[in-house]
Amino acid sequence: MSKSQTVQPASVAGARKSFPARDAFLQFGVLWAFVIVLIGAAIVYPRVFEPTNLKNILSQAAPVGIVSVGMTFVMIGGGFDLSVGSIFALGAVVFAHLADPLGLWGAAGAVLIACVICGVINGLIVTKLHVNPFVATLGTGSVFGGYAFIYSHSAPQVPNDFNFQYIGTENWFGWPISIYLLIVIFLIGAFALARSVYGRSIYAIGGNTEAARLSGIPVDLLRGSTYVMTAICAGIGGIILSSRLGVGQADMGGTTSLDSIAIVVIGGTSLLGGEGAMWRTAVGLLIIGTLTNVFDALAVNNNYQLVAKGVIVIGAVALDIYARRMRT
């Protein structure tokens, strides 16, 4: 049988690449869905592309968008975080509460510490107590959320320091600072996810935890770190929102958790982990942001809005999935 080594079986694996252009087209199904949404938006609301409106879309999307960057890491790592809404609110009240005594940077630092603590708690419960992320973060979300109310004595926190509103309301070169923050955090996230050892390890953990563990990846540490990262993103989101509104309140978290998970999933990142990309989250964010903006601008009745949004979101995701399945 030693002869056989001279002849190499041209394996089918090599022959499998076939239609690169078509494949690329199909790969980006969610992008085409977004283009369709944009065209629809431009028809029903022609002002949608005006700079002021774009600024609105982006600055309104900034807080939840930043949270979604962290959430992308958590979800690619096979996790789930329902507590970000509460951490978001906690960030907002801590920032507003401490802006006067500690100054802007001091308050931001305090938020950072608080968020790291929240993230570490989430990470430990998920990785060390092996509680599944759904219950774990539903539970901690309840704890952090309750604590945000207790911390703020259920009262709005309004600092006197005028600087407080800087991040949320000032512009650089005519564009709100929060938009720069959003873009920078997205870029860093995209780069880390696609190009760094850290990002690659997260994919491996989400794709096959056991394989990752056996190949020596510090699974618990890295998986835990995604919760810390998301918590920090949530804190930044809270800072931006409270700074924009000039007040920090414990009910600011609202539907942030579900929204950010939805944004990530709409982009096409798998809920099961191991697959996804940051650009997908960006597209998901823009789809949701555009829909909300257009519906609000047209003052569509909320109930019809709910129906239409549901249908459009499912349609967009179905299109993406259909395209990806075509690709085999």
Binding site: M1, S4, A10, R16, S196, Y203, A204, R213, G216
Partner: protein, 514 residues
């Protein structure tokens, strides 16, 4: 292989020293007081029946399994248990029996899993690609580095896993049944590589049920039996029969070809498929199976054998072809249910991904195949599940008293037996088996092939795909050889038995023509 074995080993010259290693799973002993020593720079084989504890032993060294008792030294240093990361630091790399591929990642990323080449935390994709191509050339495989690993054939995934182990530069490499789905060329490439590593001073532990292989490559052979050491000696002291005796306690005749009368010609074939195509995998393959006939399919890795079976079983929605069962035309099956309705049952090659529900008991896995048999008015009878499961378990040599065990906790070979039992329980007319003896020990292997023969004698049509070509030769009445997705030869064994080389020749001829 970068810094391979440059470190001097300690005075004993031992890469591994295990003393009194014991592993208990809720009261059951998987290992009982095992002592093993492996000298640096040797290939040390572990053999034993299914469930003898080989994987458990390797798992302990690899840091996956925490032993209940005992101590292990790696290059003279005490081992830290249950920490694969730590094991890697000690210079241990492992190729696991159950594949540990990350399906969504590329082939290249899988090879460098956990140890990517990087600079300042950033991936060095170009460097990794270069290294990947080097390794692939060394091992005679052509896998595109950016192919999605989950879509590769099991054999290719196996190769990735081996590449991962090899590229890690480890000084002690553990191979748990690395050759199960490899064809001769890949096997040869692997053994070449292992010899090269040995020459460079690496130590290897090697588990296989292919005793020729074991005797061919290893320096020392250790036999496990029921979780205990049954014997350990240099290769020269072993012969195949003595190994088998140490393993199972009695003699086994391997690959005996049972002479049998050729099935009646002229009768309508039980199954006849024409122009079977799967875009990108196989093209216009014709085949037929008579009742009572075992049809073997030979070929090399990636020749399209699995795709052919999958297409017949209704698992390739984009496949096309014409199908006739018992001479009657049947709509081409595009779903497994359609194939099952036609009486076609597939035993898939990847038991973990496609075959078994790992979290369920063995008997429930078997019952899934035909609920109607074990239920009345939609209500399952636990008694009938157990009875049926016992019956088929017996046929494939699976210990009857373990039918209640969760499949995840069974050894690889025993999982395979459950998988076969499950297909059997469906009472198919046509049985397609893809790598039926994957991970099966010598004793049970023959038994499985004998069971298949018996099923054929009862009138079933059986198609066997196996990378163990001797097995194909021994089992089948007729052999189809595939290459690059086409049927290139058909060998009728009713006159004279074929040789493995005939199959290889047929498989390679086409390529050399091109």
């Amino acid at each position: 292989m970068q810094a391979l074995a440059t470190q001097s080993t300690d005075d004993t010259g031992l890469a591994l020293r295990a003393v009194g290693v014991e592993k208990r799973y809720s009261g059951t002993y998987a290992l009982k007081g095992v002592d093993v020593e492996a000298k640096t720079g040797t290939i040390h084989a572990l053999v034993g029946e299914n469930g003898a504890g080989k994987s458990t032993f390797l798992g302990i060294i690899a840091g996956r399994v925490v032993p209940t008792n005992g101590s292990v030294e790696i290059f003279g240093k005490p081992h830290v248990f249950g920490a694969p990361r730590q094991a890697r630091r000690l210079g241990i790399a492992t190729i696991y029996q159950e594949l540990t591929i990350v399906p969504a990642l590329s082939a290249q990323a899988n090879v460098f899993l956990g140890q990517p080449l990087s600079q300042a935390g950033l991936l060095d994709e170009r460097g990794m690609r270069r290294r990947f191509e080097e390794l692939a050339a060394q091992m005679s495989v052509t896998i595109r580095p950016d192919a999605v690993a989950g879509r590769l054939s099991v054999a290719d995934q196996q190769m990735l896993e081996i590449m991962r182990g090899v590229q890690s530069g480890a000084r002690l490499i553990l191979f748990d049944e690395p050759t199960t789905s490899l064809a001769p060329p890949e096997r040869e490439a692997l053994f070449r590589l292992m010899r090269k590593l040995r020459a460079e001073g690496a130590t290897m532990m090697f588990v296989s049920h292919n005793l020729e292989e074991v005797l061919d490559i290893s320096d020392v052979v250790t036999v496990f039996r029921d979780g205990q050491l049954s014997g350990s000696a240099p290769r020269a002291d072993w012969t195949k029969p003595s190994l088998i005796r140490a393993m199972v306690g009695h003699d086994v005749v391997e690959y005996r070809r049972v002479e049998r009368k050729a099935p009646a010609r002229g009768a309508a074939p039980l199954l006849s498929a024409k122009a079977v195509s799967v875009p990108g995998a196989i093209e216009a393959v014709d085949l037929s199976v008579q009742p009572g006939e075992i049809l073997g399919i030979g070929g090399l890795v990636g020749s399209g054998r699995t795709s052919l079976l999958r297409a017949l079983a209704g698992l390739e929605p984009r496949s096309t072809g014409e199908l006739a069962v018992n001479g009657e035309g049947v709509a081409w099956p595009l779903t497994p249910r359609a194939a099952l309705r036609a009486g076609i049952v597939l035993v898939p090659e990847d038991r973990k991904a496609q075959g078994l529900v790992l979290g369920m008991s063995a008997m429930d896995n078997i019952a899934i195949a035909r609920f109607s048999e074990v239920s009345r008015f939609g209500v399952i009878s636990g008694r009938r599940v157990a009875e049926s499961a016992r019956r088929v378990a017996r046929e494939f040599g699976f210990a009857e008293n373990r039918i209640g065990a969760t499949v995840r906790n069974l050894s690889g070979g025993n999982q395979q037996k459950v998988l076969l039992g499950k297909a059997r329980f469906r009472e198919p007319r046509i049985l397609l088996v893809d790598e039926p003896t994957r991970g099966i020990d010598v004793g049970a292997k023959d038994e499985i092939m004998a069971t298949l023969r018996r099923l054929a004698d009862d009138g079933l049509g059986i198609i066997v795909v196996s990378s163990d070509l001797e097995e194909v030769v021994a089992a089948s009445d007729r052999i189809i050889v595939m290459s690059e997705g086409r049927k290139v030869a058909e060998i009728d064994q009713s006159a004279a038995p074929a040789k493995v080389q005939d199959i290889l020749n047929a498989a390679f001829k086409v390529m050399t023509h091109e």
